[in-house]
């Protein structure tokens, strides 16, 4: 091999400065805790300092020992002082290249580069490289980079521009859409809680102060709670808005490269920035997720479905753009899929009525069963009397949800895509390419058998690995299978002798 052409590289020396700053910074709270703290608990301030110290030490060792290099076939990294590691990943296996920078990193012009191969055991973290080297690595690892490098060597045109098309760009109107959230209340509760614990060691008890304030005001209990919740929501929304802007300002989603070596590149962030690169050859579909509460606004999250990524963890969430309104999401989806099919807008087949009955059934007998079990315990004296009817109080909530869940159900075949939709509190619409189907799993419970329905499970190597069309009619299932994977369907389906069986089928219920 040409070791000369692909030398081992080191992390940036500026990472050391960063570690020194962290070292000093982490000593401050511990020092304050020891010198100023009089009676409160100080152990966690000291513990924080120790953790910070260890982290800075680890950072120094990492800088001293880490070497990496990129060859046409492999990416390699060596690291470790006591336990030496030499990690080698085939370039075909690299799914994402992701570089992030916290604000301190940015001050020093540093980037943390993460090279993901869909598996934590064979992924790299280079913490940290300077901006130039990070960009170089991005270029080297983008799809088709090897081919391009060879072409450049031949034509001697060293600076051939990589073509880019913009798919989506930051829009200030996104901020309110992403700030509203049912859990915003928790965002508002978090900081005071942290502040309470931080101030305890210094003899300040926020709880006492709060109680003193409450005693002095004239409002009654319920009003006070309502006001508190309202304020908490307002603060929560504001907090969400700020963190959304910090993370997503300057958002840009582009498709970079010449076919077939293209990638989706996401760039975002105000103080800390993130660049994420996804290979287009692994794209298998898209998913919309619409929260029920914001359905009237048409809010939707958009995710990419790609192969080779773990379902959780590293870039596995697959989030493509922030929450946007439906028309915009559809345009973005069309530009991402870029094949004029717009599968996520396809008209879906409704599932049979029985599916509605089944869902309302669940909504009724679920709470009823809960009550029955509690009643059993009440009879034997293990629980007090008033407990048993509690689950029944949920019925006014569960029945409307059942109707919503039924109305969400649907499936369709359009062009090279399968589309399935389901969900009550979150409506998920999935468009998956036919070629991504690696198997079927059909499920039919006893009640579904009587109702002539079944649940279609789609096995795939992409995204969540498994998608479902719940409670489709058996005839719909068969049509779906035959349309999506004709050869495979031929294995499990057989024609019914038309003349004889058709009449009996007609006399039965023909749900269409």
């Amino acid at each position: 091999m040409t070791a000369e052409a692909h030398p081992w590289r080191r992390l940036s020396v500026r990472a050391v400065y960063l570690d020194l700053i962290r070292l000093v910074g982490s000593l401050v709270p511990g020092f304050l805790g020891v010198t100023l703290g009089d009676d409160g608990p100080i152990w966690f301030l000291v513990a924080g300092s120790v953790v910070g110290l260890l982290g800075a030490g680890a950072g120094l060792i990492r800088w001293m020992t880490t070497r990496y290099r990129v060859t046409p076939e492999l990416v390699e990294m060596r690291s470790g002082l006591v336990q030496r590691k030499h990690r080698t990943v085939n370039r075909d296996r690299i799914r994402t290249v992701d570089s992030t920078a916290k604000w301190l990193h940015r001050v020093f012009g540093l980037r943390v580069v993460h090279i993901g191969s869909g598996d934590t055991g064979s992924s790299f973290d280079l913490d940290a490289l300077d901006r130039g080297h990070a960009a170089q690595l991005h270029r080297e690892l983008s799809p088709g980079a090897v081919v391009r490098a060879e072409a450049e060597a031949e034509t001697d045109a060293a600076t051939s521009e990589v073509p880019e098309t913009v798919i989506a760009r930051w829009d200030a109107r996104w901020v309110p859409l992403n700030a509203v959230n049912v859990w915003a209340v928790l965002t508002a509760v978090g900081p005071p809680f942290a502040l309470y614990w931080f101030l305890r060691p210094f003899g300040v008890d926020l709880l006492d102060i709060g109680r003193a304030l409450l005693d002095r005001q004239p409002l009654g209990g319920p009003v006070l709670i309502a006001v508190g919740v309202l304020v908490a929501y307002a603060v929560g929304f504001a907090g969400n808005a700020v963190s959304f802007v910090l993370q997503n300002a300057n958002f840009q989603l582009v498709r970079r490269g010449t076919a077939p070596d293209t990638a989706l590149v996401t760039h975002r962030g105000l103080l800390s920035t993130q660049t994420l690169q996804r290979d287009d050859r692994r794209l298998r579909g898209l998913q919309f997720t619409e929260p029920l509460l914001w359905r009237w606004l048409g809010l939707t999250e958009t995710k990419v479905i790609t192969t080779g990524l773990k379902t959780t963890g590293e870039s596995g969430s697959g989030d493509l753009v922030p929450r946007v309104r439906m028309p915009e999401a559809r345009d973005i989806a069309a530009r991402v899929l870029a094949d004029d099919h717009r599968p996520l807008e396809a008209a879906l087949h409704r599932h049979p009525r029985g599916a509605l009955v089944r869902r309302i059934g669940w909504a009724l007998w679920g709470p009823a069963l809960g009550s029955a079990v509690l009643a059993l315990f009440v009879l034997t004296g293990a629980l007090p009397d008033w407990v048993w009817p509690l689950p029944l109080a949920l019925i006014p909530l569960t029945v409307p949800l059942a109707v919503v869940a039924y109305r969400s159900l649907g499936h369709a075949l359009t062009g090279p895509y399968l589309v399935v939709r389901h969900g009550a509190t979150q409506r998920h619409t999935v468009a998956l390419q036919r070629r991504a189907v690696i198997g079927w799993s059909l499920r039919q419970s006893l009640l579904q058998r009587w109702g002539d329905r079944m649940t279609i499970g789609i096995a795939t190597a992409a995204g969540a690995r498994h998608y479902e069309a719940h409670d489709a009619g058996v005839d719909q299932t068969i049509a779906f299978l035959r349309g999506a994977t004709p050869e495979l369907a031929a294995e499990i389906l057989e024609p019914v002798a038309v003349s004889t069986v058709r009449s009996t089928a007609m006399s039965g219920s023909t749900t269409s």
Binding site: I438, S441, Q444, P495
Partner: protein, 171 residues
């Protein structure tokens, strides 16, 4: 209804896989169910017997568990045997299992990532084996339980041969 459209709209139905599993499946599953019931009822029963405080609420639990165990031992193995079917051709592996809830699973040979044979202690005594076929999807995993060991071996050998000849990374 005119004959032409009837010919076009041929009705299709799901065909069960060709082979049944081995008859010893019933013996095996019954033994497994008995062992499970013994452990479960033993533990819960012991708690009921020794810790009097728990009796009021553990009583109903014990009754429900006993009923379920009896059904699981007496009826479930035979019911499952009557349902379970499988087939492995050069194109796909296809299996049907379940009892109350039936499950048809099919995976094309080209998407198979690994093929395993598994013989537990009880299965070993009875001369049975389980074939497991895995793909890149959690849902695309097929287990065919309770095959005759010789049949399982022949099937796995055949599948290995076919998958080795199929190109691609199975995703």
């Amino acid at each position: 209804m005119d004959p032409e459209s009837a010919a076009e709209e041929t009705e299709w139905r799901i065909r069960p896989p060709r082979h049944r599993v081995d008859r010893r499946f019933i013996v095996w599953q019954t033994a497994v169910a008995v062992l499970w019931a013994a452990v479960l009822l033993g533990v819960v029963g012991a708690v009921y017997w020794f810790a009097e405080v728990t009796r009021p609420w553990l009583g109903p639990v014990l009754i429900i568990l006993s009923v379920l165990s009896t059904v699981e031992i007496a009826v479930a193995p035979t019911a499952r045997y009557l349902v379970h079917r499988w087939q492995a051709t050069d194109d796909a592996v296809y299996a049907l299992e379940g009892w109350f809830t039936r499950r048809w699973q099919i995976v094309p040979i080209s998407r198979i990532q690994s093929i395993d044979t598994e013989i537990g202690p009880l299965q070993g005594l009875l001369g049975l084996a389980t074939i497991r076929v895995t793909t890149a999807s959690s849902e695309g995993k097929i287990s065919i339980e309770g095959l005759d060991a010789a049949v399982a071996r022949a099937t796995v050998d055949r599948l290995r041969e076919v998958t080795a000849a199929t190109a691609g990374d199975a995703t």
